[in-house]
Amino acid sequence: MKKLLFSTLFLLVAAPVLVFGYGISLDFNKIKDTLSATQNLMIEDNLEQEIEIGRVISGRLLGAHNLMTDKQLQQYVNKVGRWVASQSERSELQWQFGVIDADSINAFSAPGGYIFLTKGLYQLLNSEAELAAVLAHEIGHVVQKHQLKILKKSALIHFGRLLVESTLDQKQSGMAMNNLVGYGAEMLSRGLDKDSEFEADKIGVVLTARAGYNAYALPIVLQEIGHAGMNNQSDVRLMFKTHPHPNDRLDELAPGMEGFSGDGQMVDDRFYRI
């Protein structure tokens, strides 16, 4: 792995030098030292680091928009979310769920098991199964480490550029980390690629069904969001910026949904309304 990493970085760093003949002398000993100090930070699969990255990104999201102050609501969402997450391949993560006080209609996740949805989206929901489905979609991103994979890619490019400049010291490696977390926060507003979203939808449907809820809860939410979007309300604009259009998502889900009978529960009687 280390060898592969070094080769990748070498390509990133050295290739431009060789091709374009820049007169930069690289201190490879310094690079090696720097790598040993930084590679564990971003490159290796390390749960502790993943959680820390997620914590910092989430902290910044919450710095922009606070959690709703309704304790009962937050505990309810955590119980539903934790139950759904328990059906996943990462059931032992310390999952945390929060409803943030924002009118926009969207949901977010960060590495390590941090999941958020906005008050605006929550108010669109009509049952516990629909809530479970929204959370399950976001859990899907964490299970597949979608954000982390992009951050890692970004880290390679970022460190590569710094290494070309051959000026990566401890202070700057800290700055690089900071920038990276900033990029993670920005990703919350920019969104992931379409394929990651479709994948999270498919995982979301399965986790919803595994938890005993109606597997069609996610398609139903997508239809609700779709018609909210048709009204062109500004509240859904970010959702459409960070996710593919709900109709495209429904089209992508439809073939796989044929295998689901829809016999799970909707649980609308105890759904906590705000």
Partner: protein, 171 residues
């Protein structure tokens, strides 16, 4: 007028007191059945784009009204075209209807300005809030508490395999 409508719709909370009447169309050729399951009798054969009004949902099925009949179609065969919000205020009923076309087409993202709530700038400029993180953590529940909570609603976990997705088994 449109702007006023959006403001009005935004003011209407999506609560149990607010009823939404949804009209739409089926987007494929599909049979309208007399029961919400595949063994129901065919009432009418609907062509793609037949207009419908959604009456209710049950499981994976939606009860819809066509020009001539009421019956059931799979929820996933429907695309919603318009929504009517009915809100009861002091005994009076205000009905606001917005008809929109082009549903089912590949719509692209709407404008990026004027986002309420979370936007790029507020995220970029935000400082980490330890206080909010601590609050978030305080709401966390254990796996066993969540399992207990699910049992009170009669939820049981099932074995369901992923489709079209490869998930690595790891923690």
């Amino acid at each position: 007028m449109r702007k006023l409508l959006y403001i009005f719709l935004f003011l209407i909370p999506f609560t149990a007191d607010t009823a939404a009447l949804m009209t739409g169309k089926v987007f494929i050729d599909i049979n309208l059945l007399d029961e919400p399951n595949n063994s129901g009798n065919v009432i009418e054969s609907l062509n793609a784009n037949t207009p419908i009004t959604i009456q209710q949902r049950q499981s994976s099925w939606s009860q819809v009204e066509t020009a001539a009949n009421i019956g059931w179609v799979p929820t996933l065969t429907i695309r919603i075209v318009s929504v009517t919000q009915q809100s009861n205020v002091d005994g009076a009923t205000d009905v606001v209807t917005e008809r929109l076309g082009g549903v089912g087409t590949k719509k692209t993202v709407v404008a990026t300005f004027g986002i309420r709530g979370i936007d790029e700038e507020s995220l970029k400029g935000a400082e980490l809030s330890e206080e909010q993180l601590a609050l978030l953590e305080s709401y966390q529940v254990s796996k066993s508490v969540a399992a207990q909570f699910s049992r009170t609603a009669g939820l049981k976990s099932k074995r369901v395999d992923y489709f079209d997705v490869t998930v690595e088994v790891e923690q």
